[in-house]
Amino acid sequence: MNNPAPAATAPPPAPTARRTIDIVNASLKRRYAREARFRFMGAAAVFLGLLFVGILFGDIVSKGYTAFAQTYIQVPVYFDPAMLDPDGSRDPQTLANADYLGLVKASLRKQFPLVTGRPQQRELYALISAGAPQQLQAMVRQYPSVLGTTRDVWLIAGADVDMLVKGQIDRDLPEADRRIKDSTLTLVDQLKTDGRIERRFNTGFFTNGTSREPELAGIAGALAGTFYTLALTLLLSFPIGVGAALYLQEFAPKNRWTDLIEVNINNLAAVPSIVFGLLGLAVFINVFGVPRSTPLVGALVLALMTLPTIIIASRAALQSVPPSIREAALGVGASPLQTQFHHVLPLALPGIMTGAIIGMARALGESAPLLMIGMIAFIVDIPQGFTDSATVLPVQIYLWADSPERGFVERTSAAILVLLGFMVVMNLAAVLLRRRFERRW
C-alpha cells in the first residue's frame, strides 16, 4: 500500500498523447494520397516521353528503311565498237569520252522496240537513272574486252521507278495525280514478269557523295566530312579544354579575375551555337583567311563551341579527386605539375572523357554554326583531307530535307538513322570508357 501503483496498472495515457496519434492518423491518408499523386505524375511523364520517342523512331525507321535497298533493271547492252570506239584504237581517252548515254538509250530502244514517238521514248529512258552512263563507262574502262559483245547489265533504276517498286507511289491513283504514267507502269510490269527488275542492298548510299538524283545520292561525302571535322575538333578541344580546366582549377590564383573567367566559361556553354559560326566567319575566315567550307574551319568553330563543355566537366572531375591524393604526392616531394599529371589527372580521366564525349556528340549533331562558314555547299566529291570543301551529316540531312523529290524523303530518314546510330555508339563509348577507367580510392 505504501508503493505507488505500478506502471502497468497506471491510468490510461494522458488525453494529449491520444490526440497526437489521432491527428497523425487523420493527416496520414492525405499525405499518402499526395505521394501517390506525385508518383503517378512521374510515371505518366516517363510514359509520355517514351511514347514520343517511340513515335519519332517509328516514323524515321518506317520512312528510312527503304533507302537501304535500291531497284536495279537488267538491260541487255550491245557494246557497239562503231559507237564507242569508231577509229578502233582502244584509246582510253576515246573510250572515256564516248556517248554512253546514247548507248543506254539505244539498248532500251532495242529492248522495247514497240515504244515509238519522242514523248514515249523519253518515258522509256526515264526508267533508267541518269547515273547509268557512268556505270557503263566504268565497265568499259575496267574490262575493255566487253566491246563488241552483248551483256546483260543491271542498271540503277530511275527514282520514280524505284519509288514505284518500293510502293511509295500508289498505282490506284488516277494517272494525272501520279508521278508515273500508265505506259511506264506497263513497262515496269513487263520487266517484272521478265525477272529483269530487282531490289538489292543499296551500297551506293554508303559509297557515293551527294547528287541531284536521289537514286545516286549517298552519305559518303558527308560521313568523310564529319570524320575529318570531328577528329580535328577532338584534337583541338580536348587538350586545350583539359589544360584550361587544370590551370583554372589547380594552379590559377583565386581572385576576381579568375572568378570572372569562370562565370564567363559557364555562360559560354549556353551561347547559341550560331554565334560561334558568326565568330568563325568573322575571325577565322575573314581575318585569318582559313579556307571556307573546309573541315579545318568547321573544326575550329566546333572546338570553340565544345570547349566550355569540356572545361566545366573536367573541372568538376578534378574537383572530385580527393585532396588526400594531392597531399600524398606533394608529401613525397612531387612538384605540383607532377602531382597533377601522375595522380590527379588519371583519377579525373573518366569524368573528363565523359564530358569530352558529350561535347563531341553535341558537335556531331551541330549544323547551325556550320551554315555560317559555308559548309552548307552542295559538294559531290568525297573530301580527302582537312582543307577540301566538305559538308557534314546534319547539314546533309538539312539539305536533303529541303529537296522536293520523293526519293530524298527516304534518304533523309536513312541519314538520320545513321546519325542517330553514331550518337548511340558515342554515348555507349562514354559509358564503357567510364567503366573501364573508373578506379576506387
Partner: protein
C-alpha cells in the same frame, strides 16, 4: 634567451603589456622548448587562415633521433603547426605563416627555398591512409622515381624492399607487389604510406594522427614501428591519444587554442604537468 623565457612560470591573472599589445592572449611556454641536438628549430611561428590566428608565437625544437608528440584538444593548431614544418600549408588558400623555421640551420620559409626538395627531406604521413591507386611497388618507388634516386631497376627493387622491410610490411606483401595498394587493410595501407615516405630517405618524418583511422592491433604495430624508426629519423607526431603520446614519444608538447602551453620530457608532462591546462587535459577534464 628563449630557454630563459620559457622557464618563467606565469602568474595566473597577471597580464603583461606585451600580452595586451598582442590582443590579450598569453605568451610564453612552460618547459624547455629546446633540445641539445635539434634537427628543426621553430621560433615564434604564427599562422593565419584568412583572419583566423591559428598558431600564436609557437617556438619548439624537433630533436635528432627523437619523437616529439603534439597533443591538445581539437582545433588547437597542432596539425597546422605540423604542416608548417614541410610547407604543406602552402597549398591552402589564404594561409599565411610568419616566424622562423630552420632545418639543419637552413630557413625553410626563405623566399628562394623550393618546397619540393624540402618535402623530400621532411616526409609526411597523413591521418587517413592515402596510398596512390597504383600497385604496391609503384607506391613505394614513386618518390625515388621522380627524384631520380636510383640508377637501375635492380637498385629500385632493392630500395622498395628495404623501405617495405623498414615499414614492417615486406613479409605481408612481397608476393603481391603488383597488386593495388588500395587493396590492403587500413593498417597495411598506413605502413605502405610510411614505406613510401622513408623510400626517399627523409631526415624528419611528420605524422598527422597516423593511427586515428586504425584498429588497436594495427595501432600497436605502427607504434612499434615508430619506435624503431626513431633510430634513423627525427619524428614529430600529432595524436589525439594521450596513451599513444606517452608510449611513443620522448618529448611532449601540449597545444591549446593556438598556443604552445607546455613542453617537456614525456614522463614529466604526464606525471607532473606544470600548467593547469595541461593537467586538466591529460586528466581528462576536457578535450
Amino acid at each position: 634567451m628563449n630557454a630563459l623565457a620559457s622557464e618563467i612560470v606565469r602568474d595566473t591573472g597577471a597580464v603583461s603589456a606585451a600580452d595586451l599589445a598582442r590582443g590579450g592572449h598569453f605568451s610564453g611556454t612552460i618547459g624547455d622548448i629546446t633540445t641539445p641536438d635539434p634537427r628543426m628549430v621553430c621560433r615564434e611561428v604564427n599562422v593565419w587562415y584568412g583572419d583566423k590566428h591559428a598558431i600564436k608565437d609557437v617556438s619548439l625544437d624537433i630533436g635528432n633521433h627523437q619523437v616529439v608528440a603534439m597533443i591538445g584538444p581539437s582545433g588547437c593548431g597542432k596539425s597546422t603547426f605540423l604542416r608548417c614544418l614541410n610547407r604543406m600549408n602552402d597549398t591552402i588558400d589564404g594561409c599565411r605563416v610568419r616566424g622562423s623555421i630552420t632545418l639543419d640551420g637552413q630557413e625553410i620559409y626563405d623566399k628562394g627555398l623550393d618546397p619540393v626538395p624540402l618535402r623530400a627531406q621532411v616526409g609526411m604521413v597523413f591521418q587517413k591512409p592515402n596510398p596512390f591507386p597504383k600497385s604496391i611497388y609503384e607506391n613505394v618507388a614513386y618518390g625515388a622515381r621522380i627524384h631520380g634516386l636510383t640508377n637501375s631497376k635492380a637498385e629500385l627493387d632493392a630500395l622498395v624492399e628495404t623501405s617495405l622491410r623498414k615499414a614492417g610490411l615486406w613479409n605481408e606483401v612481397k608476393d603481391r607487389l603488383d597488386q593495388p595498394g588500395t587493396g590492403l587493410s587500413g593498417g597495411q595501407q598506413q605502413r605502405l604510406c610510411i614505406a613510401r615516405t622513408i623510400a626517399v630517405s627523409p631526415e624528419v618524418i611528420l605524422m598527422d594522427e597516423p593511427c586515428s583511422a586504425l584498429d588497436p592491433i594495427a595501432t600497436a604495430i605502427i607504434e612499434e614501428l615508430i619506435d624503431e624508426l626513431r633510430e634513423q629519423y627525427s619524428i614529430a607526431i600529432v595524436t589525439h591519444s594521450m596513451q599513444q603520446a606517452a608510449r611513443v614519444s620522448q618529448r611532449t608538447a601540449y597545444f591549446h587554442l593556438g598556443d604552445l602551453v607546455e613542453v617537456g620530457e614525456t614522463t614529466q608532462v604526464f606525471t607532473n604537468p606544470r600548467h593547469k591546462l595541461t593537467e586538466d587535459y591529460i586528466t581528462g577534464r576536457f578535450g
